[in-house]
Symmetry: D2
Subunit: 350 residues, 4 copies
Amino acid sequence: MVVVMEERASEDQIQRVVAQLVQMGFDVHRSTGSLRTVIGAVGGQTKGDPRLVEALDGVHEVMRITEPFKLASRTFKPEDTVITVRDLRIGGDEVIVMAGPCSAESEAQVMSTAAAVKRAGAKVLRGGAFKPRSSPYSFQGLGEQGLQMLRVAADAHHLALVSEVMDASQIAMMVPYVDILQVGARNMQNYTLLRELGRLRTPVLLKRGISATIEEWLLSAEYILAGGNMDVMLCERGIRTFESYTRNTLDISAIPVVKKLSHLPILVDPSHGTGRRDKVAPMARAAVAAGADGLLIEVHCDPDQAMSDGAQSMFPGQFDRLMAELRIIAPAIGRSICLEPVARRGWGSE
Amino acid sequence: MVVVMEERASEDQIQRVVAQLVQMGFDVHRSTGSLRTVIGAVGGQTKGDPRLVEALDGVHEVMRITEPFKLASRTFKPEDTVITVRDLRIGGDEVIVMAGPCSAESEAQVMSTAAAVKRAGAKVLRGGAFKPRSSPYSFQGLGEQGLQMLRVAADAHHLALVSEVMDASQIAMMVPYVDILQVGARNMQNYTLLRELGRLRTPVLLKRGISATIEEWLLSAEYILAGGNMDVMLCERGIRTFESYTRNTLDISAIPVVKKLSHLPILVDPSHGTGRRDKVAPMARAAVAAGADGLLIEVHCDPDQAMSDGAQSMFPGQFDRLMAELRIIAPAIGRSICLEPVARRGWGSE
Amino acid sequence: MVVVMEERASEDQIQRVVAQLVQMGFDVHRSTGSLRTVIGAVGGQTKGDPRLVEALDGVHEVMRITEPFKLASRTFKPEDTVITVRDLRIGGDEVIVMAGPCSAESEAQVMSTAAAVKRAGAKVLRGGAFKPRSSPYSFQGLGEQGLQMLRVAADAHHLALVSEVMDASQIAMMVPYVDILQVGARNMQNYTLLRELGRLRTPVLLKRGISATIEEWLLSAEYILAGGNMDVMLCERGIRTFESYTRNTLDISAIPVVKKLSHLPILVDPSHGTGRRDKVAPMARAAVAAGADGLLIEVHCDPDQAMSDGAQSMFPGQFDRLMAELRIIAPAIGRSICLEPVARRGWGSE
Amino acid sequence: MVVVMEERASEDQIQRVVAQLVQMGFDVHRSTGSLRTVIGAVGGQTKGDPRLVEALDGVHEVMRITEPFKLASRTFKPEDTVITVRDLRIGGDEVIVMAGPCSAESEAQVMSTAAAVKRAGAKVLRGGAFKPRSSPYSFQGLGEQGLQMLRVAADAHHLALVSEVMDASQIAMMVPYVDILQVGARNMQNYTLLRELGRLRTPVLLKRGISATIEEWLLSAEYILAGGNMDVMLCERGIRTFESYTRNTLDISAIPVVKKLSHLPILVDPSHGTGRRDKVAPMARAAVAAGADGLLIEVHCDPDQAMSDGAQSMFPGQFDRLMAELRIIAPAIGRSICLEPVARRGWGSE
């Protein structure tokens, strides 16, 4: 922590700050210039809040010098984390595409969509069984029945499965069905849920909250990592800004920022990030070009009949074209998007 | 819903939109001008998402014409809701001040703070036993032990008690201790929690999420109201903007906006809204002047030693001065801030 | 400037940073802890951009320790600036209300509105002759003819006059008519205009840009002050956020923030800040309660016929009631809103 | 315009709205449902402000049904605009890269940078002679001398030249030097400047304001188009959000949104959009993948010595690598990035 004193700070005020910092467990270095005194505080375990110092008389500004997250930081672990899910490696050379319907609605819908996305090159089936909806009057998902449909369809097409968990009480029921548990944007700071996920060994896909800073997002990942579950992948899905032509503003620059700050894989969800089908392909291409480790894309065999988020779901034909475009782009940054799984190990049915 | 077609929309495209709206259960009125066709859709239960229509070919824009919340709207209930908590009336003529420490830390701290805020005119003690903290390494609250301390101090000074619930699993334990259950900003869209609170008859104080629109906030209130719990009060606590001199930007204009859209009482939390002690008094005065039904203010007998949020807690002397200022301001809009409770009914000890 | 090195920064990288800082004219203090090296750089004239250091290898973060504005800062001038305009003192004990139509439209409209606002207690007539409009097809103002109408009406009712200047080329023509030159939000960073205003001795009212930080706003004030014109008053008028129920989010907390950082008077424009007539009174009351030195309010004798911004203009009766409410609120913070001018010196006609 | 009345609106209130709309020149269609009356207003020239209607009693909401810009809209001109600058076609199949130093600082610097960017495949030299700086104490550019240096270097390497104009008074002097006049983000709503540019036939590159909506941006383009200058290209350069790890948030989704709304070419400036050299390449790749018609990139032969914005300037070697990556990406969407100009027509020296 660096404490910058006001220009007219008195010696008493400076001493009061030094005393507070010492009490908080810091080693203190004082540097007095012609205009201002600057106090550096390093080492030790930080106890209490930097704002405790900020509120003292004579203090102009307090600046933190370490990131508040530890296990999630690249300083702690310089090499990229690669998460193994069945025979997939998320965070490696291959860009992993997860695709499927917003919600599971029927066996036929799930099965036909799974077939379509598999054919185009997706490696993971995505689909919701529990839907967080801002209105209590909207469709809330099929629950466990939806998970069963998704698992059957995933197995039939050799796809891994990711689905959203909304509450700690759902975890035990969901784990047998899914390969990756998704935490939605609204739950990014549901600490009870994050702590429980930290006790599992199932990989977690953690979406960024709609107005979360990247630091808060990495701190939420830290909650899971601190519990011992090291398989956390991040997913950018759009932040809230003043612009209203798009549902959210997909923050593509979060990709290189996270890559520098953290070793965790980062995916991008262009479907929720834009909310409009015709914006999904350009933003998916942009995400891969900027270095994303994967994509999460809504595809629906009949989006106009979808019970939620149909407007942002791609048609299978659009998804095919997108995958073809991505196969051209990925090599520009030394990545690939394979059509066939590298191997088939780990699938019970083979 | 009003659907505006593109200027060059074909008759086929228009028919497709009409068919979709009819299938969604709407009565449809078509109005074709020289430039554009506009389609009005009214009545019925809305099934599915307006964005389903938005994504059809030839559609320029889709505009909703009804608020998505019902029970929370002033259309549904024109008169102000007044919530009775012991002998207090929240939403009536009196501006209710809730004050106390950010977190319960010790019996002595809670008791002396309760005495101080009571003396200055607060009617409700606020204090946290469970603290949602963005870092897993920060102080997380004393739990049930903290609630016991707070209840003892509230009873000793004839104060009602409000405290934050972080998860549905904590409700049953908390209800015997508190008069009002607070939902924090991070949980504004924790729908599992909101639904459980809807089953109670304990009043709920629902904070606005840090980047929630007013519409989303009222929809979250709707989750509680739809369950049958009509005693919901709202609390503005600052939204996230680009400005960084303040921790958040306290949205004072939310007060008149909510007053127009809804019958629910609205309070303001200037402590979290600004994050700095010296900004709390000006913003508390502004909130009352703009028509807030109450305030939620952090006061700590020794803020510099507080284990969380000390920098934004007022000293008792500052709080006294603020209350004196508010007593001058409230009459400007026909409100009052009483020093003594109107009546003492409902206190077991009397 | 404080430079925080990465944890694994090499000695070479540290030396490179030190050399760069020395070249930029700083005195350098190095402090090496167990984890990180922190380099303090003080004194001298800062040449170049702190980001030059930020981009060097091994640098984790660069933090500025001085505000970039000088003449505008309270450090430079601890006492409040009071600006004398005719017989008014802006920034003193009296809260100064400036009111009038958005645009001058006709002699009758300007004269009747001036009479109404004078009667209610306004001290300055506001009104636009040049209107910055986002659409080239909107009404753009009457130009010099409008200024003449405004001056005649102001003189007839012993009001000072403030009007917006849009371009440096308009200054010479405008100065004989107005007492205060207003710089609109869109021109807050029109540096050519700011520099020209710095050469005048006419007071300037500088509105905050719609997404300007407080620091950028004070830097724009600095452009005027640096030219020698010390009579700059600031005016908050709403910032752009994600919330769409209000046109902008009026940042009431900017009042105490500016009061701490700067000695310049700060006014508030609740009309543009909210965009809706029924929100103007609550926000005007909030502004005075939070410590604003004055208000800028749109009043129109027939707002429904106004050629611009009628929806946010108050009716004279509403303005009367607001002024009565403000007279109750102002004393809460030791301020007053006088009905009659303290003195009549300076009016040519008396 | 569509006017939605409140549920309890009286017949008188409805008649008042109809009368107002008729007076504003609209054809009015009334549709009364069981809950609400909705009034459609089409045709005619819109006089006055929709908010005039919004403020009438009984009105719930007013929704505009036409974009406020005309000449800039794709409805007005369905085919893409291609702007010819010397032998270049901006908005055609080739992605045009404009590169060079932030500011012209010396003949040697400008000449060596021009050589480097030409070699890598840039077609336009960018460089500032007038620099809008938020602080009055920062380097403000070399003025006409800088333009001379840039023109000489551009001609020497067969590059077109783009440079920023800050004020209408600079236009006449600049036109002989530059091929494209750039309007910076801070001047996007400098209407005096925009109107003057509308009178020219020199192409204009119009940057998006830091918090401008896409609609406001297109309205600013409309000011230039309405004057008769149809050669306007847009340039996204980052918007202001709450995220602080990047200087701004580059809004990549603006590319497909603008492509749908308008026929004008859109470029992206990843240097100002991120403010950090190591983020420029990922964002430049993302922009091309999303469909941008061109890029504006800062390159400096010795960025650590640059007098402004050095931290975001690429080294020539980095720029070479980026251009190689872009050549792989562009074909994914049917575009190209040529190394050699298609033709050499129009260069006086050949």
